[in-house]
């Protein structure tokens, strides 16, 4: 039910992909792929449907990044995943103005991957010491003792 409503609302935004997910295999009801500049609008739609931000993370795909957002709902079982491919060196817009929860998640991703979220009010390292000069979850990261 909710999955259908979310799909209908998201289709109006002309995203790259809005599809029903295979819940039994992946745990998703709605799968979405979008461009970085569309994510704020998507977050707004998700908030209107009373969904909360479950997690926000990133993948290092060697040539590019992918930012992954998970949304779920308190009222009904419906998980939405949003994949946002990002060229290395480019910034993604922040959604912390819509979801305050994203504040820390984005700082964590910045800390571990070095992805800059444009418009974030307080983008500094969250987990590593402030004077650290590396981003450990990059695939080419090698620790020096």
């Amino acid at each position: 039910m909710l999955a259908e409503q979310i799909r209908n609302s998201l289709e109006k935004l002309e995203l790259e992909k809005v599809a029903a997910g295979d819940y039994g295999r992946t745990g998703y009801h709605v799968e979405v792929a979008a461009k970085p500049e569309q994510i704020t609008a998507i977050a707004q739609v998700m908030l209107e449907h009373q969904c909360f931000l479950e997690s926000l993370t990133a993948l290092d795909l060697i040539e590019s990044f992918e930012v992954v957002y998970h949304f779920a709902c308190f009222r009904e079982l419906c998980r939405t995943v949003v994949h946002v491919p990002l060229i290395k060196g480019k910034t993604a817009p922040t959604i912390s103005s819509v979801y305050p929860a994203a504040d820390w998640f984005e700082r964590e991703v910045f800390d571990l991957f070095g992805i800059v979220f444009a418009g974030h009010p307080n983008l500094k390292r969250l987990i590593l010491p402030e004077d650290a000069d590396f981003h450990p979850l990059l695939k080419d990261f090698v620790a020096s003792s």
């Binding site: 590593l128 010491p129 590396f134 450990p136 990261f141 090698v142 620790a143």
Partner: protein
């Protein structure tokens, strides 16, 4: 950097032996949990295991009031300076127990390429007793404290009150 030590500044000759006996039987640990081992440290202080039987049950939240620091858990690089400062703030004579594999050597979290932890408390502060386990059982911690008492009094456990 000068080498850290937990030795007292002033010694009193023969009186020291008496003082050591007193110190050994009323060790006040610092309330200081880093990770999983802290829960076992709490369990050791609680109802069943009751560290108070050995005089070591008075956990103090302030380093100024405590004699023994139980490093219970993984030391992250971000935390390491704070641990050194806490150690410096403790009044001599002071002792350190490294509880659990993480505090001994990095334990399960040490591997080639680990960027986040300090593999071993003895790299930053002098350690007197090592208690292995992941996490050690409360009995293990009690044994560690008894070993420390032996070290302080320079006597075997059974002949302490000779």
């Amino acid at each position: 950097m000068e080498k850290k030590t937990g030795e007292p500044l002033i010694h009193f000759g023969v009186l020291d032996e008496v003082l050591d006996l007193c110190r050994a039987n009323s060790l006040w640990p610092l309330t200081f949990g880093l990770a999983c081992c802290a829960i076992e440290m709490m369990a050791a202080g609680a109802a069943r295991f009751d560290l108070d039987r050995f005089g070591a049950g008075v956990f103090r939240p302030s380093p100024r009031q405590s004699d023994v620091m139980i490093v219970a858990g993984t030391i992250s690089r971000k935390m390491a300076p704070a641990i050194v400062r806490l150690y410096d703030q403790m009044a001599a004579p002071k002792w350190v127990i490294a509880m659990g594999n993480c505090a001994i050597s990095g334990g399960p979290f040490y591997y080639e390429g680990q960027y986040a932890i300090v593999p071993g408390a003895d790299l930053i502060i002098p350690v007197d007793v090592y208690v292995p386990g992941c996490p050690p059982r409360p009995e293990g911690l009690i044994e560690g404290i008894l070993q420390l008492e032996e070290k302080i009094t320079h006597r075997g456990r059974l002949r302490k009150f000779r």
